[in-house]
């Protein structure tokens, strides 16, 4: 398999929806999310030769995107005036769809990190915990613990909405 520009572009196109959802979950604002997506695409391509296993492209790309988002959030926080310093804001809209109210997605987006990211990668992207660990620079055992706690938090969020199907 030749990991050239054509291959890379196909891989990114297949994952642009997931990248958009992930970036929105961090950045909340579409312009910022789009900036991070573009930055991470450029960075991933620049370092493509460091990807040893093409099968791991997905978790590798998401890891780069997550780091871009975190860097950008840190930069924004440093640049913000004290008045602008606020707690993490809830997502202004459901980024997977502009038309439909997505119960689960909105509940996931109200959760703090790292629970939001592990839930998105595990349930929406079907990544195994080993790959989530690679993307988030942690260990599979830690991801499993985060998932266990995230499910409890998510259940509580959904129950607040009167949604008790998970019981």
């Amino acid at each position: 398999m030749q990991m050239d520009k054509t291959w890379f572009s196909e891989q990114v196109r297949e994952r642009e929806a997931a990248m958009y959802a992930l970036a929105m979950s961090y950045m909340k604002q579409e312009d910022d999310a789009l900036d991070c997506m573009q930055q991470s695409i450029l960075k991933a391509y620049e370092h493509l030769d460091s990807l040893r296993d093409p099968e791991k492209f997905r978790s590798w790309l998401y890891g780069i995107l997550i780091n871009c988002c975190k860097d950008e959030l840190r930069r924004k926080k440093r640049a913000a005036t004290p008045e602008e310093h606020t707690e993490e804001q809830p997502a202004p809209e459901a980024p997977v769809s502009h038309e439909t109210k997505e119960v689960l997605w909105n509940a996931v987006n109200r959760l703090p990190e790292p629970y939001r990211t592990v839930l998105i990668l595990f349930y929406y992207e079907d990544l195994p915990t080993a790959d989530i660990a690679a993307a988030t620079d942690t260990r599979p055992a830690t991801v499993r613990k985060q998932l266990e706690r995230a499910r409890d938090l998510l259940k509580a969020e959904l129950e607040k909405e009167g949604f008790d199907e998970t019981e």
């Binding site: 050239d4 520009k5 890379f8 572009s9 990114v12 196109r13 642009e16 929806a17 958009y20 959802a21 579409e30 789009l34 997506m37 573009q38 695409i41 450029l42 391509y45 620049e46 370092h47 493509l48 030769d49 460091s50 997977v96 769809s97 502009h98 038309e99 439909t100 997505e102 119960v103 689960l104 997605w105 790292p114 629970y115 839930l119 349930y123 929406y124 195994p128 915990t129 080993a130 260990r139 599979p140 055992a141 830690t142 499993r144 613990k145 985060q146 266990e148 706690r149 499910r151 998510l154 259940k155 199907e165 998970t166 019981e167």
Partner: protein
Amino acid sequence: MKRNDETIRRMAREEKARAVVPDHVRSAVEETLASLPETPETKVLEMPKRRHWKLPATIAAAFLALFLILPNTGAPVAHALSEIPVLGTVFQAVTFREYAEQTDTTDVSVKTPKVASDGKGKEAADAVSEEIDKMNEAAVAKFKQDHADGGYGSLDIYYDVAADTDRWYTVRVVREETAASGAVETDYYTFDKTTGDLVILSDLFEKDEYIAHISENIKEQMRAQMKKDDSVSYFLDSDMPDEDFSEIDPNQDFYIAEDGSLVVCFDEYEVAPGSMGTVSFRIPQSVYRSDLKPEYR
């Protein structure tokens, strides 16, 4: 929990199927892809370091030479895992750095060992001590970073001696984070007193079959425990095969017990839910004996 998991999975699938990426986002991605050069610039990212330190080849060769000379001294050619070594190296873990830091919301307690040894084991002991110190300080730094914006949590790092037999000395380092996002992380460092060498699991074996043999035995033990006690649970034979335990790592944590049996250790959440804590399995010698290097049989 299982029903909860299945419901979340189903809802996520349905919502993902309805997901729409706005056209302007799609266009921006296409523009970015079009702007890429035909050939990417080559900058190699640093590869992650191996978790356990191993002796440099030259030192390892020196130890090997020492071992090969032993038969000429009249000592037995091979020692079983539990036999008394003829030339023993003394190892001793002593507290090297101990401190505690508290804020209104966090509590950090660190007790780091230095592994002391005589001439033959000094290189390995010093390198392990340095690695433990670095890993402990990195864990503290990460904990502080994770809690920079507040949030309750504690980090407790300590050590003990998991095994001190005639042949083997094992130091266990535990990093226990009680914040919701952390898990108990344990590292075992096992020294062979006959060589003064640090040994990782794969060093004991000459045949790769040990991975399958030991893994199968662990699965049998898991199944037997789950059958006997409903409260026991492992990641095995579930409806999520990707998450099930498949096989041990060549670098899996272990120690050699007093009776010479191999004890394979797993971190919290590595092969079982958090309610099980850290787990370990004692492997009968009959399972792996034929895979051992001659000097360990």
